[in-house]
């Protein structure tokens, strides 16, 4: 890609492989369809629309493409979950509610290269025979909504959208639907409720698996922005060629957003599994700031479990011997880090150096989750504010050592008992922080605090105690 020049100061790192982000920060590139088509845009669509829909799905299945929203579910397999003999309309929804703290990848696509998403989405719609697509745009992207809308108009004029696309007989309408600013709308069933105009309360699964009962009770496929862009890459390069590149179980490129205490935070598109976390943070991101040491990494968006940089991890070699390693030796693909109890999720890497107080980091996360809990199911609704109040109290120096255990126990009571994955998302940070950085939490506590009243109500009630013990 030597012919591409990028804006000065924003050039990709040499170890990057820009596929999805090929046009991001490119010199002279704008979101117009002209720019996109000059760069070979919509050629893949022309190819794909001549194939049978089932062949498109097969191609995506062959590629081994896994969803980039965080859960990493194989995209092609998801598409086949539409019930056989379905007579209802099928909908395809693009999840552009990128609200996981620390994740910033989709926003660049929808702001700078909207047609890439559109092309991927049209191919996906064709594959699952959806005649109506929705781009669910988070409220915080008002400009992107305009850009996307404009892109849709342009595509319609060029007959890539609308009736009888490219004379193939396939009709497709795509609309942009704007959210109202809620993290939970990123959960696919919450998102579907939001499109229906309801409160974005996630639905119970079973029975509301979107591929069977989704938007307006019809089969619905919900895919992340990056996943849909990757679909275009799969069709462009061929399923087998795509599968051959990168980690065996999670092929293709990945966009990693690095934020926090590194010298060069930013977005990097790398071949999955081609580098380790150490190479990412030291080589690409330039290592810790002057005079600092890395302390902790949250490897996959705010809800992923935190990893300690000085922790000795034990892994099994293929020959059965145990080798010791650190978090920096873990390859950057979807599965490797799962072995060590965390997840690579949406690719948002948050780095903290030794200047950070872990209880305060956790408190910040808890504040986010307590505010974003939708309130539908009891453990999450009541557990999150409790965790927030506990971590706040610990940070203020009003906690006792028992409060640290209580904090962990509250998180344990949420995890696995909620309607949607938010329960895990909100409890994992607390579980991981209180376990891995327990000493930091304990250092802020005083045993005497266990005897103090923590709320006006308790203080009031204590007036009537004869004996305070």
């Amino acid at each position: 890609m030597s012919e591409i020049t990028y804006i000065r100061g924003r050039e990709p790192h040499p170890r990057e492989t820009r596929r999805i982000f090929r046009n991001i920060d490119r010199e002279g590139y704008n979101p117009s369809i002209k720019c996109f088509m000059e760069d070979g845009g919509y050629e893949t669509l022309k190819k794909a629309i001549k194939m049978e829909p089932a062949d498109v799905i097969n191609e995506v299945k062959k590629s081994g493409l896994r969803g980039r929203g965080g859960a990493g579910f194989p995209t092609g397999v998801k598409w086949t979950f539409i019930p056989k003999g379905n007579t209802k309309p099928v909908y395809l929804v693009c999840n552009c509610d990128e609200s996981e703290p620390g994740t910033f990848k989709d926003r660049f696509v929808v702001h700078q290269d909207p047609h890439q998403l559109l092309e991927g989405m049209i191919i996906a719609c064709y594959a699952v025979q959806a005649h109506f697509g929705v781009i669910y745009m988070r409220e915080e992207f008002p400009e992107a909504a305009k850009i996307m809308q404009n892109a849709i108009e342009e595509a319609k004029k060029k007959k890539f959208l609308g009736k009888n696309i490219l004379k193939s007989g396939f009709d497709l309408e795509i609309i942009v639907h704007r959210g109202a600013g809620a993290y939970i709308c990123g959960e696919e069933t919450g998102l579907i409720n939001s499109i229906e105009g309801l409160r974005p309360y996630p639905r119970i699964k079973p029975p509301f698996f979107p591929a069977a009962i989704g938007l307006y009770g019809c089969p619905t496929i919900v895919n992340n922005v990056e996943s849909l862009c990757q679909v275009r890459q799969v069709l462009m390069r061929g399923g087998e060629a795509y599968a051959a590149e990168g980690a065996q179980r999670s092929p293709g490129t990945r966009i990693i957003g690095v934020s926090g205490d590194v010298r060069r935070p930013g977005y990097y598109e790398i071949i999955s599994g081609s580098i380790t976390y150490g190479e990412l943070l030291y080589d690409i991101c330039g290592g810790p700031k002057r005079g600092r040491k890395f302390k902790a990494i949250i490897p996959g968006g705010a809800s992923a479990k935190v990893m300690r940089c000085d922790e000795v991890l034990k892994d099994r070699n293929p020959d059965g011997t145990v080798r010791e390693m650190s978090v920096f030796d873990i390859p950057l693909d979807l599965d490797s880090i799962a072995k060590f109890g965390s997840m690579s999720g949406s690719g948002g890497v948050i780095v903290m150096d030794d200047s950070r107080s872990m209880p305060k980091v956790l408190n910040n996360l808890n504040r986010f989750f307590a505010w974003e809990s939708c309130g539908q199911c009891s453990p999450c609704r009541e557990g999150n504010p409790w965790m927030l109040k506990l971590s706040t109290r610990i940070c203020e120096g009003k906690g006792s050592p028992e409060d640290v255990d209580l904090l962990k126990s509250v998180a344990d009571n949420i995890c696995g008992r909620t309607v949607c994955a938010f329960g895990e998302a909100c409890s994992w940070p607390t579980q991981a922080f209180t376990t891995k950085f327990r000493e930091e939490f304990l250092a802020l506590t005083k045993p005497i605090n266990a005897l103090k009243a923590h709320s006006p109500e308790t203080a009031e009630a204590r007036k009537y105690l004869i004996r305070e013990d």
């Binding site: 119970i204 079973p206 009571n413 008992r417």
Partner: protein
């Protein structure tokens, strides 16, 4: 492997359309599609629930019904399943609990409602629900019938670990004319929201705010003023929604509930009357899927105040002279007077205005009395109103079908009686349980003043009783046994919830006594000591009632007539399933 049964349980169950499920170690068979919660409850393995209600859609949001669940292990390709000596596959238990309300049973599924995992899940969820719940049980109306209270007794920790400030929300909000909301007590099960949306079809209630600030609220510009609003109070598992009528009136554990039926319209809604001593405190619907499902209209529910009203007639009243005021007397002298006066009445100049609010037993006795006296001018007051396409029937009399069967009347003869009163051919009127001056009956005060003799049996004082020569105090529906036939032809039982007020007598017993004193020798009439015996007498005579006894009618009633009339709400529910 030779010990495997020849017919595997799974095949035997599949032949019946059922599946085998192991609950707490014991194998049971349930029809396919049974919810885990229903399956467990049916075999005594109780599953606590807040949001689950069999008549509403499942949202699975309270998480109280979490149970440990397992399925046979997933087989490697080509591997054959293994069976134990009883023919069941081994169960591999799942690492996380599942909700019992949304999941249905499956072949060879295992459920544990008493395991450590289930217990911990329940404890955990309950603790969360209690964190922001005000501990105001001593002043909460729901105390005593509160699910949260019950489950706290079962799964509560005893001490609380939550010592932070609680979330503040709205208290004592008048969200409707008959319902009050306390948002802090609410566990957000959203039963009320789903009821208003799915059953009533008025989306008035919703949830506002996010996270711990979630609260039930009315949509802007609306109030919870539906005629079915008080069902949300019944549905509410905690004290968040309370009835303005019942608020702070009585602790529920002092109340006795009596299963009976509502008499405000032809539907015959099944109800429970909640009483203490001789006072009625509230009425709640009783489930009967063929009549009223689990619901009842507010208008009917609140129409009970007359039972304990000061207008109740407590003793027989007589006028010794046409101009003299009424004075109380004993039953004996009143009945003697009635008999004496009835002997004087010419049967052709006498009319009986009966009521379709009477039970079958009373109507049977009225018929006997009319035959004995030779009176043919006999009819009822018909009441019509607009049906609401839910549970309120157009027929506002509860026993029109009983009248049709026993008296053969429909209310069309009332005009003739009224004309007779006005042209002087009817000189004597016996009014039974009806106020003749009511708009439905259509008599005027002048009509009644012109009569030679007016005998009334009624439970409460009204214009007619004030003008009567003799008033015998009857009882309300809460004070008597009897049967009624609803619009759909279902015979249902009324049960006595309280003893008759003062010296009031059951109406059927009054008729029997009058008949007896008039010299009736019919054993069938005078030998009946109880209304149940009257029912048995009727069962001999009326073809549709063949074989009916008080016992086999049961609490849910029996269809005995084919009227072709249906109850709209029940039809809708059936169509949905």
């Amino acid at each position: 492997m030779s010990s495997i049964p020849a017919i595997l349980p799974k095949d035997a169950a599949a032949a019946e359309g059922k599946v085998n499920v192991q609950i707490n170690g014991t194998w049971y068979r349930f029809p396919k599609g049974t919810r885990i919660v229903d399956a467990c409850n049916s075999v005594g393995a109780h599953v606590p629930t807040f949001c689950y209600h069999p008549k509403l859609s499942v949202v699975g949001s309270c998480r109280m019904c979490l149970v440990e669940q397992g399925m046979p292990p997933r087989l490697a390709p080509g591997a054959a399943p293994t069976y134990d000596e009883n023919g069941y596959q081994p169960i591999s238990w799942m690492p996380r609990a599942v909700i019992a309300c949304a999941n249905t049973v499956a072949e060879n599924m295992g459920i544990r409602t008493n395991s450590k995992m289930t217990e911990e899940a329940r404890k955990g969820v309950l603790e969360f629900l209690l964190t922001n719940h005000p501990l105001d049980c001593p002043i909460c109306d729901q105390a005593g019938e509160c699910k949260l209270q019950e489950y706290t007794a079962d799964y509560g920790r005893g001490t609380h670990r939550f010592t932070e400030a609680k979330t503040k929300k709205g208290k004592n909000l008048p969200i409707g004319p008959r319902v009050n909301l306390d948002q802090e007590r609410c566990v957000l099960c959203r039963r009320c929201v789903r009821f208003m949306k799915e059953i009533v079809g008025e989306e008035v209630l919703g949830v506002v705010n996010r996270g711990t600030h979630n609260a039930i609220s009315c949509y802007p510009g609306t109030t919870l003023d539906s005629n079915y609003s008080m069902n949300t109070v019944d549905l509410c598992p905690v004290g968040a929604l309370t009835s303005k009528d019942f608020r702070f009136q009585m602790r529920v554990w002092f109340l006795k509930s009596t299963p009976t039926i509502d008499v405000n319209c032809g539907t015959g809604t099944n109800i429970n009357i909640w009483t203490r001593e001789s006072k009625v405190y509230r009425i709640t619907p009783r489930q009967n899927d063929e009549v009223n499902s689990c619901w009842m209209p507010d208008s009917h529910r609140l129409n009970y105040k007359y039972i304990n009203a000061p207008e109740r007639l407590l003793t027989p009243l007589v006028k010794t002279d046409a101009k003299a005021p009424q004075r109380p007397t004993t039953w004996d002298s009143a009945l003697n007077l009635v008999v004496e006066q009835l002997h004087k009445c010419a049967p052709t100049e006498t009319a009986i205005v009966a009521s379709a609010r009477m039970t079958n037993e009373e109507l049977y006795m009225v018929r006997a009395l009319a035959r004995q006296l030779g009176i043919t001018k006999l009819d009822i007051v018909s009441r019509k109103g607009a049906g609401d396409n839910m549970l309120v029937s157009e027929d506002r009399n509860p026993n029109t079908n009983g009248v049709k069967m026993i008296l053969g009347k429909t209310g069309t003869g009332l005009n003739a009686i009224r004309r007779g009163v006005r042209n002087g051919t009817v000189r004597f009127v016996i009014a039974l349980g009806e106020d003749l001056t009511s708009p439905e009956a259509g008599f005027t005060k002048e009509d009644l003043e012109g009569l030679d003799y007016l005998l009334t049996i009624h439970h409460s004082e009204n214009e007619t009783t004030r003008m009567s020569d003799v008033v015998l105090p009857g009882v309300t529906f809460a004070e008597k046994y009897g049967t009624m036939i609803n619009v759909a032809g279902r015979i249902q039982r009324l049960n006595k919830a309280i003893e008759p007020m003062g010296e009031a007598h059951s109406d059927w017993a009054i008729f029997r006594d009058v008949s007896e004193r008039l010299g009736c020798d019919c054993v069938k009439v005078i030998a009946c000591p109880t209304p149940m015996m009257v029912l048995e007498e009727m069962a001999q005579e009326f073809e549709p009632m063949k074989g009916l006894t008080w016992g086999n009618i049961g609490n849910e009633g029996k269809v005995i007539l084919n009227t072709g009339v249906t109850i709209p709400l029940i039809e809708r529910t059936k169509a949905k399933n």
